[in-house]
């Protein structure tokens, strides 16, 4: 045991001697959380709206005023033709436009209902779909009130009327649609994977590269302890960073933790151990730091961004990629964290995630131990 602690002490010395790396490790999560929490946001704001209307109906003017009053949209002006709307969109003057055909208002009160067009710049598909959602909500709401006020309404005898359907949208768990709710679990998944998997594997492979592994192998210490000793400091650092992220989340980003603190920490610990296992596995199969970095970065970090549902919803991916997403460890962590932290569900709803993560951890550790060589062949 004395030998083992000598190793752990040495690893701590390595980490604390390398001040810059340590600073990056501790500073990066803070910066990322603040960045994603405040600066980078998928919420839409200041969307410029144009109008193309063949009639000068007062209710359309009032609708545009209502749109302009909302915090998301700004009414820019009226255009005379579709070509002009097109041109304005190209110039970047407007991001979306409402097009009302001639005789829209009378038609709306007619039996057939009326149609209007909503044109949106879909260069950024995420923004476009959100704009469509918000705008149609406002338009529906407005004409719904308008018709109810006019007394014609949509009683049961006119179910086919265009404006008669009023979607009642409610945003659960995140009523203000704050993007930090989505990003915090994602960032945690990313940072913990970065520190545990990447740093551990690089630090083990560095010993191979500098040749010190050769000396360590020719010692009575069981090589597997050499590797386990490497993990302890990174485990400790990860726990500190986890605490840091949680404090920032709760007190700076003001994201409430709805569920159980205990289970949230436990899920995180399982994920940390899983990431350490990945790091150990990578280090047991590669020989140079650069390859270890590339494997961790390309295979484990980038998919965290792409396939964990952090940026793009998994459900909207092609089936093959959806299957691929199932093997991304971070996906399960992020899902579990969202459920516990944001939705606040009891732990029995995240047992699948916990079991899968534990299974993966066992898998990676076993693979690493099997692949680990106590010779240098």
């Amino acid at each position: 045991m004395k030998e083992f602690f000598a190793f752990v002490r040495k690893e701590f010395l390595h980490i604390f001697r390398d001040r810059k790396t340590l600073l990056v490790l501790v500073g990066l999560p803070t910066v990322l959380i603040v960045l994603f929490g405040f600066a980078i946001s998928t919420e839409i704001r200041n969307v410029n709206i144009g109008l193309l209307s063949m009639d000068d109906d007062i209710s359309i003017t009032r609708l545009m005023q209502k749109i302009d009053r909302s915090e998301y949209f700004t009414y820019v002006g009226k255009y005379a033709s579709e070509a002009e709307v097109d041109e304005a969109m190209r110039r970047g003057e407007i991001d979306a436009a409402l097009i009302f055909p001639a005789g829209f208002i009378p038609a709306m009160f007619g039996a057939e209902g009326a149609e209007m067009a909503l044109v949106v710049d879909a260069t950024n598909p995420n923004n476009a779909s959100m704009e469509v959602m918000y705008l149609s909500r406002i338009v529906y709401g407005y004409f719904g009130d308008e018709m109810a006020g006019s007394g014609i309404g949509m009683p049961s005898d006119m179910p086919a009327g265009g404006a008669s359907l009023t979607p009642n949208l409610r945003m659960l768990y995140n009523p203000q649609l704050k993007s930090s709710y989505n990003f915090v679990p994602g960032i945690m998944g990313l940072i913990l994977m970065l520190i545990c998997a990447l740093m551990t594997s690089v630090s083990i492979v560095r010993e191979k590269e500098t040749g010190s592994m050769e000396v360590l192998l020719v010692s009575p210490v069981r090589p597997i302890y050499i590797v386990l000793a490497k993990m302890i400091p990174y485990f400790v650092i990860s726990c500190a960073i986890l605490l840091n992220i949680l404090l920032l989340t709760i007190f700076v980003l003001k994201v409430p933790v709805e569920g159980s603190f205990f289970w949230m920490i436990l899920v995180s610990l399982i994920y940390i151990i899983l990431s350490l296992g990945i790091g150990m596995f990578v280090s047991s199969i590669v020989k140079t730091q650069i390859i270890a970095t590339l494997i961790c970065g390309m295979i484990f970090l980038i998919p965290v961004m792409m396939f964990s549902g952090m940026l793009y919803p998994i459900e909207s991916m092609p089936v093959a990629l959806q299957w691929f997403a199932q093997v991304i460890p971070a996906k399960w962590f992020i899902e579990a964290m969202r459920k516990i932290m944001i939705e606040g569900v009891p732990v029995r709803y995240v047992t699948t995630e916990i079991l899968i993560m534990s299974g993966l951890a066992v898998l990676f550790f076993t693979a690493a131990v099997v692949k680990f060589k106590d010779r240098i062949e």
Partner: protein
């Protein structure tokens, strides 16, 4: 009693046609012997060390260290072995003292109870105890590495090119340290590319292309040299080398310091003056001096490859 025995050891890497180590027959290193392996770069020295240090498994053949099989009993061997690789493999970001403490505790020892073994070497390092190992000079690094490989009082010590990149005075000190350790009864196997260091070994194995060309004490190797050897100089040394090689009585000619050494073919009946005369008259060399000399280990090594 033999400390190390080798029987038909062979190791190849990948698709490389020639094996890196290909020792045919039996070799032994006695207890308390200072055994030198001399050979050029790529001779297979490092691979042989790694095989004996249980880091690589041989393809064929067996070897034992202190009676323990290098493949089967590798865990036990690792407790009695000191190994210093050719590349500096300590931790550059740890201080001298921290490196030593770490390696001591890896073997479950502490520095104080094992200091007598390393005292003679460590006394030179003591002024730099707090310095980072990465900031030491080449000679100091090697001394520290030697201390770290000795801290657990191994019974067998493997040193892979410990003097490469070390200045002459540090090299001499290091060999003196090795001689002291040998006198304490430690078996030491050391490799080097420097011929002048081979004289300090009890037994020398000359290695080339994975094979031991000869294994004997330095004096016996020199005594077995059976050619006539000349040392030749002239004012135009570069042309001289070419001209000597073109002479029919010359078997081999190579530069040796600031002279050329020439071995003569068996039964070549030429005198020293005859060669000097021919170089002057036939080839037009000026300032020619030719002396008959006795062979050094390096001469023996240079002439071994042809056999």
């Amino acid at each position: 009693m033999d400390s190390i025995t080798i029987h038909n050891l062979k190791k190849s890497f990948g698709r490389h046609p020639l094996p890196a180590v290909d020792l045919e027959g039996d070799f032994a290193v006695g207890k308390g012997e200072l055994f030198g392996i001399i050979g050029p770069d790529g001779a297979g020295k490092t691979t042989l060390f790694r095989i004996l240090a249980t880091l690589i498994r041989p393809d064929e053949g067996t070897a034992t260290v202190e009676g323990l099989d290098i493949v089967r009993d590798y865990r036990t061997i690792r407790t009695i072995l000191g190994y210093m690789p050719g590349k500096f493999s300590l931790y550059s970001d740890l201080s001298v003292r921290e490196n030593l403490e770490f390696f001591a505790s890896v073997f479950g020892k502490d520095i104080d109870s094992n200091s007598d073994m390393i005292e003679n070497i460590y006394c030179r390092l003591r002024p730099f105890e707090k310095r980072k190992a990465g900031n030491l000079s080449g000679g100091m690094k090697q001394k520290l590495a030697l201390c770290c490989s000795l801290i657990h009082s191994p019974s067998v010590l493997f040193l892979d090119e410990p003097t490469t990149g070390v200045d002459p005075s540090s090299r001499r000190e290091l060999w003196e340290n090795l001689a002291e350790l040998r006198d304490r009864g430690m078996t030491i196997v050391v490799s080097t590319a420097y011929m002048d260091e081979a004289d300090r070994c009890d037994t020398v194995a000359m290695m080339k292309s994975g094979k031991f060309l000869t294994v004997d004490s330095p004096s016996d190797i020199v005594a077995q040299f059976d050619r006539r050897l000349l040392s030749v100089r002239s004012d135009d040394m570069f042309r001289l080398l070419h001209d000597l090689r073109s002479m029919e009585t010359v078997e081999k000619c190579y530069t040796f310091g600031d002279t050329h050494h020439v071995t003569l073919k068996d039964g070549a009946d030429v005198s020293v003056d005859g060669i000097a005369g021919r170089l002057g008259s036939e080839y037009g060399h000026t300032g020619v001096t030719v002396r008959e000399i006795s062979a050094s280990l390096e001469d023996c090594y240079m002439n071994l490859g042809d056999k």
